[in-house]
């Protein structure tokens, strides 16, 4: 369904912002596919009558928490999850900027078609995605992109034989607050 006109502010209390990573390299079998939740973020959604609208999101790069890991050698315990979050802080995101701002928002069947600029750690590249809206006010969206396109070197270990895959997926799943 179409999102009703209005201005919405969303955050962790309204849904989840999730990063999904895969693994690569000769020793990929030893690594885990990760589900990582961004625990501090804020998004605003302005939907006008017709085609006008704006979408913006900022996220705290130091708020990523590993929720689960699948595959790999052994299961991830709390200590390993915390260690991964520390590596994200120290070696990958380093507390840098994560911000999206739309440049064009169009009404589309079932939701919105959004184009805009994603700033990751100071590099800005265009991205586009659909925000699907359900009857119950639930909005979902997903984008996939390569870290290297933003100048980010994917995390690697074990002498470069075990790497986080360059392409990552970011999903948002939230319920629009009732005005």
């Amino acid at each position: 369904m179409a999102i009703p006109p209005g201005t919405y502010t969303l955050g962790p209390g309204d849904g989840t912002l999730t990063v999904r990573t895969g693994k690569a390299g000769a020793a990929a079998k030893a690594g885990h596919d990760l589900v990582i939740e961004v625990t501090r973020w804020e998004a605003s959604l302005e939907v006008g009558e017709g085609s006008a609208g704006r979408v913006a999101l900022t996220a705290d790069a130091r708020s990523l928490a590993v929720r689960s890991g699948s595959g790999g050698m052994g299961s991830l315990g709390d200590e390993e999850k915390a260690s991964i979050a520390q590596s994200i802080d120290d070696d990958v995101l380093k507390g840098g900027t994560i911000a999206f701002r739309s440049s064009a928002v169009e009404q589309a069947p079932g939701g919105l078609r959004v184009q805009g600029d994603l700033d990751l750690l100071g590099a800005t590249r265009p991205v586009a995605f659909d925000l699907d809206a359900g009857d119950d006010g639930r909005v979902t969206g997903s984008i996939r992109f390569k870290q290297s396109d933003w100048g980010i070197k994917p995390f690697s270990a074990l002498f470069g034989t075990l790497k986080v895959a360059d392409e990552v997926e970011v999903d948002v799943d939230a319920t629009l607050p009732v005005e």
């Binding site: 052994g74 991830l76 074990l158």
Partner: protein, 142 residues
Amino acid sequence: MVELDHSFSTGKPTDYNWDAILDLDRLIPCVQGGKVVERTSPTAAKAEIKVKMGAMSMTFAGTVEVVEQDDEGHRALLKVKSREVGGQGHANADVAIDLNDGGGTIHTAAQITGKAASMGEGVVVSVLDGLIKDFTQRLGQI
């Protein structure tokens, strides 16, 4: 059995390199994650190596011993025997080091069993190759 050959260059005289590789207190920490636990003789030590795989890690504990030593030819054979801590695996290796002017060659014959080996020989070769290349770079700094 996995066999690998590497060469290294330190830019230092052969006599200096010879003393360095026979000094296990200096040599063992050149292996990333490696440390001497206890010296048991002038030519042997108890040692362990922690191999980090991102957040996960495996630790092998065992012995390193210089079993052959040709002072004139500057050739040494080191025997590594280790067992995975908390696991069933082993990592054993014969490491033959042959020095020449300003560097040398390393021939490694390794036998890895257990969880690490279950990833396949290709993975074991890639990781060992990375480990030894890193080792040869550190050798140049001792």
